[in-house]
Subunit: 327 residues, 2 copies
Amino acid sequence: MLPVAVDAMGGDKAPAEIVAGAVAVAAEGIPVVLVGRPDVLAGFDTGGLEIVPASEVIEMDEDPGKGVRRKKDSSLVRAAELVRDGKASAMVSAGNTGATMASALLRMGRLPGVNRPAIATIIPVPDSRPTILLDSGANAECTGPMLVQFAQMGATFFASRFPELGAPKIGLLSIGEEPGKGDPLRKETYALLEQAVLAPGTFIGNVEGRDLMSNEVDVIVTDGFTGNVALKSLEGALRFLSGAVLGALMAPELKEPAKQVLPALLPVAEALDPDTVGGALLLGLKGVCIISHGSSSARAIVNAVKVARDMVDGDLVAHVAAAIGSS
Amino acid sequence: MLPVAVDAMGGDKAPAEIVAGAVAVAAEGIPVVLVGRPDVLAGFDTGGLEIVPASEVIEMDEDPGKGVRRKKDSSLVRAAELVRDGKASAMVSAGNTGATMASALLRMGRLPGVNRPAIATIIPVPDSRPTILLDSGANAECTGPMLVQFAQMGATFFASRFPELGAPKIGLLSIGEEPGKGDPLRKETYALLEQAVLAPGTFIGNVEGRDLMSNEVDVIVTDGFTGNVALKSLEGALRFLSGAVLGALMAPELKEPAKQVLPALLPVAEALDPDTVGGALLLGLKGVCIISHGSSSARAIVNAVKVARDMVDGDLVAHVAAAIGSS
């Protein structure tokens, strides 16, 4: 396969952790190229990986639109161009999320018929089926037909990512399970989803915020404003409670029993760690683009590159194109 | 003080737990009347509390509007009438949320100048300042001026509920901290909040979903659709992780160490338990109305009645009227 282009300059821990992750995953036999400033990368052990030079970096807090327009030789823009030009099979970045979206959208372009690309985030649910939430932040304003496309793209992604789990159940995020619940956008979308071509999934109706970690639904569809708020509310709650539990167990008088119970809690913590998931997918483009968490470690990059490889191998882009084209 | 009217028939555990809670809190010296079907309540130990008869019950899954219109002798409608008629100081119900709102709105009425009442939910944050989220579900569709009133009412509620914590910091729930982030409603509201009369609080700008359990903000303002999704996402995540932690600790080989660490985790669990908070407040009406969780236990009712008593004692309604009237 063509190599996966990894933006070596993007992320809170770039380039050290990004480079380390790229080197580690390449050692497992997945071809990778690093994109970034050769002068900076010279200071790191890049393990003989090819470095595609890019002289600029779009900073984490930079305005995405301006960054992409002005910094044409940035690592993000160059990574997207490698995919566009058939020199890389996918791109991975833990950098500025908005700039990653803009680079991928402007350089790769949308698939025919796709109204707007959407960010699909995998919510891991330990010992249970994961949930895919989209849009989790690309489009603050959405229409009903956009949400229908998100359902089609999300179901296709779920089937590609978790083929062993069978056809996904698709739900519309609302504030009550009955069809009439929600605002006008939800009411319109509910009616559209009932008539939509949804291969390979099935629309099960409205779901609620508590279903993000339930087993009732696999693909949850919403606008990017609500999706981003829901995802961050969930992440904040998990982080708070993990911290509170660990804090309680750190009490000096609990040293011995804590030593015994902590190993039992580790699998839950690891499953919920964003680094395990590796990143979110930007769906609807003519190429695979993985948006990793800004705080990505080397392990996150390893997992992101593996997801990219799987999505390329499984021909996700063609499947999304077919799902949108057949509707 | 006038008694607090408790809807004895509302809630998943009604009437047993509701009656038990009312009796327990009355024993602490807070006057309470039960509202409900005398024939049903005769089967429970009502501890000599006054029973205001109401022959009908609006069921948990009944259409709120129809329920309130058709069941004029329901416990919910009668409870709201007691407040309206100056026979009770406040009402508490763990019943149908929509019907509780509708009863309170139609019977008590809005305060002058209040565009729409909002549900203010207290999010407990163990070892930290609590956060008030509003609107958490009363109004699926909102305008900028409505959100400004929510900010004014929420800040007033925070100051009444937690006078020891000083003036609350007010944040607008969005998807990025910069002023330009979010959809058109957020952009409009941001500008309005910058100019609004916000006594006694201060507008600190946009906040994100992860701030629901942070110490950065005290009152988070949003529309009822987003607020309900955010709250349920948070509750679902907390429930999931609590269950996973407890499940891991139940392993037979961890019996002894678990016995030692569980007492350290109890305070966190208790602080996060919705029963500890007691209920959400419906703000903007000519009376105090507490909406308790559908699954409320006796303890939840005890705490809800105490919050009601505090809000009556502190003259919350007059303070909300002043906050809205002065803007």
